[in-house]
């Protein structure tokens, strides 16, 4: 491994790590303002996981039914089980409207209504007039909305001449003694050569960490890289216990079946053919919040009403909608069913099971996407020069449970907000700070650790064990004993990482090395998840404790903060005060 001194350095105004929707929307804003922007992505940008988002992006355009950003805000606060920060939620719901128009102007091929406006469909947890009739707020490009948005953003970045470092893996952030972020050490995957990117500002936009679970809708690349990098420079992760299990993953396989299937009129049935959501959510039925639907499915199966030979899934029916609707509105789902299940969803129901899907938690930020951490002057002090947006961040708009269609919205709004704030930061801080070799040492040491030769456990084995452990000990339903055992097992597994060795020490396109670095990240975010979950002894949103089934606003209307040093937990209050409107106080959450 090269010494710090001999590594090549590149210099930029803004370094963006991750080329999904958040990173690319930030990059677009900065490149259009003529900043020097570097986007580092471990895959070619259009491979980023935004591409897999299906159903759509929420905005109160009122194209299909009456709507209003304030109703959207109410639904999001309620959906969050009152853990979302209401200033950030107000920002997101207001900004949703111009953001979607901006995307449309950029070229996103949204589906259309007869009058030429953007098509909007119903999604879970949406209401008109603060809890009234179902709303239709999700703007869609068939069921390939993420693909349409990601490609459009990449295309517009090509036009803006953004500088891309494709297939470069970010190893670690580099900080100086005052805690200012100076850039990152990255690895060119093709050549195997490390590179230092010095930047006045750094945005983490690395997405989620679904690979920490054995069965997940997430791609292979979703390994929590940015979250783990933030942890390693001493920052906290917020609300990591809130991990969303999407109600409808393909049973046993995990591919996502979009909520749009239910938004277009589909519904779930158990082995008795009963539309069971009537019992759990008499008003919203199958369009109740995701946490509610996932728990209902697991309960049906636990009580013996699962379908199939092993009674281990339920069925999602859309066959009553007619082939026209199914094939036109849900072409991607039709493909997935044909390829992976050998069925046409217009003719046969789909076997589904709740599947690990989305991190509500992440790197804490304010509504300008600036990373915040507890420090001398309070729990939310801005970390200079460091930003986070998208699934790796926790701003927090999703609180304890995210609504469908709010994820694409989150990445776009706060990606853009990061871009805007970076512009003013760079104006006020126009010069690079000096980077010394000592600042590079921790990052270089991490790379060097995987250069060690000899015998040892294999990355693949430890990773498989980790994913099984998280599934067994931190799933849809949780309790003290199971999680405490999980933490002990995970601590033991973390110790073993020291003894894991790579067999392959080659330079050119060494994917084994990348997977080893990703394993480090998965272990750290897995621990953050389990520790945060173990300590929260209440049920709220996606965090469902069998031993503490009630929400406890007295004790727990606060955000969890996990710190890597000594696996320490800390807490900070929820921001219940919006920017311009009245606060939505916590209420019992029924659908």
């Amino acid at each position: 491994m090269a010494a710090a001194r001999s590594l090549p350095h590149r210099h930029f105004d803004a370094l963006i790590i991750g080329a999904g929707g958040a990173g690319l929307n930030a990059a677009l804003r900065l490149a259009a303002a003529d900043l020097r922007v570097a986007v580092v992505s471990k895959v070619f940008p259009t491979r980023s996981h935004t591409v897999a988002a299906q159903g759509g992006v929420n905005a109160a355009l009122a194209n299909a039914l009456p709507d209003n950003w304030h109703w959207h805000m109410f639904d999001t606060v309620k959906g969050s089980d009152y853990l979302g920060d209401q200033d950030a939620i107000e920002t997101m719901c207001r900004e949703a409207i111009p953001t979607v128009y901006e995307l449309e102007h950029a070229g996103v091929p949204f589906s259309r209504l007869d009058n030429g406006r953007i098509y909007q469909r119903a999604f879970g947890g949406q209401s008109q007039n603060f809890g009234g009739e179902q709303a239709a707020r999700t703007c869609a490009a068939a069921d390939r909305t993420g693909h349409a948005i990601l490609h459009t953003l990449y295309q517009q970045n090509l036009r803006a001449k953004t500088h891309f470092f494709d297939e470069h893996f970010a190893v670690d952030l580099i900080r100086d003694d005052e805690g200012v972020t100076l850039g990152a050490l990255v690895l060119d995957i093709e050549s195997g050569e490390p590179l230092i990117i010095e930047s006045k500002t750094t945005l983490l936009a690395t997405g989620g960490h679904g690979q920490v679970y054995r069965t997940s809708t997430n791609a292979f690349i979703n390994t929590g890289d940015g979250m783990a990098m933030a942890l390693r420079v001493g920052g906290p992760l917020q609300d990591m216990e809130f991990y969303q299990f999407h109600p409808t993953g393909v049973a046993g396989k995990g591919m996502l079946i979009t909520e749009a299937a239910r938004g277009e009129g589909g519904y779930l049935i158990n082995s008795e053919g009963e539309s069971f959501m009537e019992r759990y959510a008499p008003n919203a039925l199958d369009l109740a919040s995701r946490d509610v639907v996932s728990r209902s499915i697991v309960t049906e199966i636990r009580e013996g009403r699962g379908c199939g030979p092993n009674k281990d899934y339920v069925l999602l029916k859309v066959d009553h909608l007619g082939a026209d609707v199914v094939h036109q509105r849900l072409p991607g789902i039709t493909d997935i069913c044909r390829v992976f299940l050998g069925i046409d969803p217009a003719k046969a129901p789909m076997p589904v099971f709740p599947t690990a899907h989305y991190a509500m938690g992440g790197i804490p930020t304010d509504r300008h996407a600036r990373v915040v951490a507890p420090a001398r002057h309070g729990p939310e002090e801005v970390v200079p020069g460091l930003y986070a947006a998208g699934e790796c961040a926790c701003v927090s708009v999703h609180g304890a449970n995210r609504l469908g269609g709010n994820s694409l919205l989150d990445i776009l709004v706060f990606g853009r907000a990061a871009g805007t704030d970076i512009l003013s930061y760079v104006t006020e801080n126009p010069h690079h700070r000096s980077m010394r070799d000592a600042h590079l040492e921790p990052a270089i040491a991490r790379l060097a650790r995987w250069e060690r030769q000899g015998e040892g456990e294999r990355v693949a084995d430890v990773k498989a064990e980790l994913r099984r452990l998280m599934e067994d000990h931190c799933g849809v339903f949780r309790d003290q004993a199971t999680m405490a055992e999980g933490v002990e097992k995970l601590k033991a597994l973390r110790e073993r990482i020291e003894g894991v060795r790579l067999r392959d020490h080659s330079q050119t396109f060494n994917t084994a090395r990348i997977e080893a670095l990703e394993l480090d990240n998965l272990v750290d975010v897995g621990m953050a998840t389990l520790m945060s979950a173990l300590h929260r002894d209440e049920s709220r949103g996606a965090h469902s404790r069998v031993d503490y089934p009630q929400r406890d606003d007295e004790r727990w209307m606060k955000h969890s903060l996990y710190l890597r040093e000594d696996d320490r937990m800390d807490y900070k209050p929820v921001r219940t005060k919006p920017l311009t409107v009245d606060s939505f106080p916590p209420k019992p959450r029924v659908y």
């Binding site: 070619f44 491979r47 128009y101 070229g107 490009a141 790579l502």
Partner: protein, 242 residues
């Protein structure tokens, strides 16, 4: 256990003789593996099983459901996406090679630079000249339907690397993937750069090297039809020139 037999292309330019004593030179070769069959197994899962046995084996992959476009490979002579190609449909031993005609970086990983350059060359983004409205640019459902079969491209490269014209002139001929995107914007009622786009396609190579061999249509894992899109561009050129 039922075993699946695969013969996989191996090439490692800096192969470390110590870690892989079996092949210490850097010549490409085919290596045979056996992996355990699983119900409904896709080719990507078989490649992952190989990676379990030998971590020096490299290939690109990510989403596992045919939307990210990372894992284009050539299986038994046909380009495909490994994650949506059922093992059951492939004759064994399955011959797995990198996408043809591109320089190999390592094993199944090819250098896609020229493919991406051709994509960039068609200016694959919406160009508006009118001032933007406050709300959406209106588009009728019929006009929007014209983008179906075009915007879904995932840039996997299966089509262009199956195209003999692209093999011969990858630096001059845009290739089916890029031309499909060219038509995607020409066909968009919101785009206002038709003339410039068509002018830029003039000449004997960029567009006109397509000889309608239709390999692209055969292999497209998303069922798209670049040959038809190329035909539409030619029709529009003719229309505009009279």
């Amino acid at each position: 256990m039922t075993a699946i037999r695969l013969s996989v292309y191996r090439y490692q330019p800096d192969r470390d003789a110590e870690s892989s004593p079996a092949a210490s030179d850097a010549k490409p070769s085919m290596q045979t593996f056996e992996v355990e069959a699983q119900p409904g197994m896709m080719l990507r899962e078989a490649l992952l099983a190989i990676k379990e046995q030998d971590e020096t084996f490299a290939f690109r992959h990510s989403c596992g459901e045919g939307v990210c476009g990372s894992d284009g490979v050539n299986a038994n002579g046909t380009n495909c996406l490994a994650c949506i190609t059922p093992i059951a449909e492939l004759k064994q031993p399955i011959q797995v090679r990198p996408l043809p005609g591109r320089p190999v970086i390592r094993d199944l990983v090819v250098d896609m630079t020229q493919f991406y350059e051709q994509y960039r060359a068609v200016e694959p983004y919406l160009i508006r000249k009118d001032p933007l409205p406050e709300q959406e640019i209106r588009q009728s459902p019929e006009d929007r339907d014209k983008l179906d079969g075009l915007y879904e491209c995932i840039l996997c490269g299966c089509c262009s690397t199956a195209c003999p014209s692209f093999w011969w002139n990858p630096e001059k001929f845009h290739g089916p993937a890029a031309l499909l995107q060219s038509w995607r914007f020409l066909a968009d009622s919101r785009d206002q750069a038709t003339e410039e786009r068509l002018d830029a396609l003039e000449g004997p190579y960029k567009l006109f090297r397509c000889h309608s061999i239709m390999n692209c249509v055969e292999v497209c894992p998303k069922g798209l039809n670049p040959t038809r899109a190329i035909g539409k561009i030619k029709e529009l050129m003719l229309e505009q020139s009279v």
